[in-house]
């Protein structure tokens, strides 16, 4: 059986600068599988500029990898026939980070909904198309009458963001790649939208890649999480393990920096955060976090730490855990839940009815 979507040793390097050529390794050697049989929600977290959006664009086929392969239903995305590509483009739907860039200011917002509906022949009639559109708007808490017929600038930031979520839902894809889909909506709506995303997984079997800075909502709706730092996966596994008990010093910093909705609690650990967070300059060897790591020790500047499988559902790329075996081929599948291989092979586990 072939997997729905795979990344094998995928890297993406951007080159910029004419005089002094700079290379940015935006995504560095990522291997993982998104399965259709056992849909899941994978959160992708990490600092600004760590490569999350680039990872999303690779999954969506918007940009080609510099090395490695993105494989859709057993075939490299580069080699898809026209018909296959069309299905691929429908089955994987984006919700982009930026609700402002995704719109053409000269078209009414209806455009972003009716065009894909037509393009992918979703409905037999105009009435049916409208019904589907209204249903989708409803799911994200928008009133069709208040939304349709308007130009993008006539909607608030959060309203625009929700139209993009509705658009993705409309197409009934197999995978939704959502880049910060709720960063600009209020807490109540955030809950509404994320719950509808979770329902899509449960009821329609749609998998979701949920890119976010919000580790609290990641914890609430995701099954698994992948934490990126300067293009590399530094920690991955189930949200229970990674967010409740982070092992990599960067993930620990991230989790301790979550601002708590309680003014009497301090924000983050005491003291300054070392280092220049967003410079992508990294040493050619050694751990990418070494200049900011409070517990760096001798081996750290010599080699890149591999992902150590230090817990059945968690791996961390840090030499503190070099007593554990490294993940074979850096493949993240073994730490993610549900476990694809064991379930498929054993067949002993009935899917939980809920």
């Amino acid at each position: 059986m072939t997997a729905f979507l795979e990344m094998t040793n995928v890297s993406k390097v951007f080159s910029a600068g004419i005089i002094r050529r700079q290379h940015t390794v935006a995504v560095d050697d990522v291997t993982m599988t998104i399965d259709e049989q056992s849909p899941s929600i994978l959160a992708v977290a990490g600092e600004s500029g760590s490569g999350k959006t680039t990872l999303a664009r690779l999954l969506l086929g918007v940009i080609p990898p510099s090395s490695g392969e993105v494989i859709y239903r057993g075939q490299s995305v580069d080699d898809l026939s026209r018909a296959q590509r069309r299905t691929y483009l429908r089955e994987i739907q984006p919700i982009f980070q930026d609700p402002f860039e995704s719109y053409n200011p000269f078209y009414k917002v209806d455009h972003v909904l009716t065009v894909p509906a037509k393009k992918f022949d979703l409905a037999a009639s105009r009435e049916q198309t409208m019904r589907l559109i209204e249903e989708a708007l409803d799911m994200v808490g928008l009133q069709p009458a208040e939304t349709l017929g308007r130009f993008p600038h006539q909607l608030s930031g959060g309203q625009r963001q929700r139209v993009m979520v509705a658009r993705a839902m409309l197409l009934r894809p197999r995978l939704i790649v959502a880049d910060e889909p709720v960063s600009m909506v209020d807490a109540s709506l955030r809950a509404t939208i994320l719950e509808s995303i979770r329902r899509m997984k449960q009821e329609l079997g749609i998998s979701v890649v949920y890119i976010t800075h919000d580790l609290t909502t990641a914890y609430q709706i995701a099954d698994n999480i992948l934490v990126m730092y300067k293009g590399s996966v530094v920690e991955a596994g189930s949200v229970e393990q990674v967010i409740r008990d982070p092992k990599h010093p960067y993930t620990q910093l991230l989790v301790s920096s979550i601002p708590q909705p309680d003014p009497s609690l301090p924000w983050g650990a005491e003291g300054e955060i070392a280092g220049d967070p967003e410079s992508m300059e990294v040493a050619a060897t050694g751990c990418k976090f070494v200049d900011r790591c409070p517990v760096a020790f001798e081996p750290c500047s010599g080699q890149r730490p591999p992902l150590y499988h230090e817990h059945p559902s968690r791996a961390a790329a840090c030499f503190q855990y070099d007593g554990s075996p490294a993940l074979e081929g850096q493949n993240l599948d073994v730490v993610f839940e549900p476990q694809l291989t064991s379930q498929a092979a054993g067949g002993s586990q009935e899917p939980a009815a809920n």
Binding site: Q143, A187, T217
Partner: protein
């Protein structure tokens, strides 16, 4: 009225005239911004926060219009009555705005340093090139960016880096009031904390006041001194941050806070039942009444007026009291 406030907003109304009707995006909002304070503004998506942020600087665009009210800027007068020249003078060096989605309003074909220089040059044409270069570098450093970012184009930067550039541009002329609309909603929590620390230190250095619009209740709890909550074009509660979180008075505020998830337990995310109102046809009486679990007799017919409740202002019939 002079109460020592830097900015005094009274009964501000901002309406959009559309084919479908009048959208009352800001409908009778009053508050003051005190010297050196950080006032957080949260609330329903589409409740008028950005419209108000723009209108405070008269940066709103048609079909938006100021339908009433005044915005007194200390030492200047009513911003709503300034002529174009007066407006140009106060923007950036008295009142500065970091707009929502600012990172996307950067000019795609201009290097970052030139975009920073633009703002400084229009206000202070006397600067020499060396001065300017130095100031740009300092501006970038202020928001935690390397000097070399100045030589880059927006598409070469991550969302977070662009957002910091936008903040650098907004604060380049040391304004006394900084209005920041979702300044960190695209940033990771570590950088968010750094940017907020920077904003705080810049602000303290300048003695500026900040109005921060946002949705991240955690961030607000950590950064704001006082908080305002908007619902359907109205400011429904205004209170010191601690009081607001520990003892929210307005039912909308309470439900909003309850819908904030925590890392404590994994459970279904709670949201406020019912649909957000349309601002063309705002429900009569209290706009929250169709969704309010505490609604009672007067709520669907009488508009609750803001009342003063020891140190805070609440607009809800549950709290009758002295008009604020």
């Amino acid at each position: 009225m002079n109460n020592g406030a830097v900015l005094t907003v009274s009964d501000l109304r901002v309406y959009y005239d559309t084919d479908a009707g009048t959208v009352k995006a800001v409908d009778g909002v009053s508050f003051d911004l005190r010297p050196g304070e950080r006032l957080g503004l949260v609330g329903e998506s589409g409740s008028g926060k950005s419209t108000m942020a723009l209108a405070l600087m008269r940066l709103h665009k048609p079909p938006a219009r100021i339908a009433g009210g005044e915005v007194l800027l200390d030492g200047v007068g009513d911003v709503m009555k300034l002529d174009d020249d007066g407006l140009r003078r106060i923007r950036l060096d008295r009142l500065a705005l970091v707009p929502q989605g600012a990172m996307n309003s950067l000019n795609p074909v201009m290097r970052i340093r030139d975009q920073l220089a633009d703002g400084i040059r229009t206000h202070e044409p006397g600067d020499t090139r060396d001065d300017l270069a130095e100031r740009i570098q300092a501006q970038l450093a202020r928001v935690g960016l390397d000097a070399e970012v100045g030589g880059k184009f927006p598409h070469e930067l991550s969302g977070g880096m662009k957002q910091r550039v936008a903040i650098a541009i907004g604060t380049s002329l040391s304004p006394s009031v900084i209005i920041a609309d979702e300044p960190t909603s695209a940033l990771d929590v570590v950088v968010q904390r750094q940017v907020m620390e920077t904003l705080r230190s810049v602000q303290e250095e300048l003695g500026a006041s900040v109005l921060i619009v946002g949705h991240d209740m955690g961030l607000m709890a950590q950064i704001a001194d006082r908080m305002g909550v908007m619902y359907a074009g109205k400011l429904v509660e205004l209170a010191p941050v601690h009081d607001l979180f520990t003892n929210p008075q307005h039912p909308y505020t309470r439900l909003l806070i309850e819908s904030v998830p925590t890392l404590m337990a994994k459970r279904a995310l709670a949201s406020i039942p019912g649909a957000p109102p349309t601002l063309i046809n705002v429900p009569p009486g209290c706009p929250f009444h169709p969704r309010c679990p505490s609604a009672f007799e007067p709520c669907d017919s009488e508009v609750p007026l803001p009342t003063a409740q020891n140190g805070r202002v609440v607009s809800c019939h549950l709290y009758p009291g002295e008009a604020a």
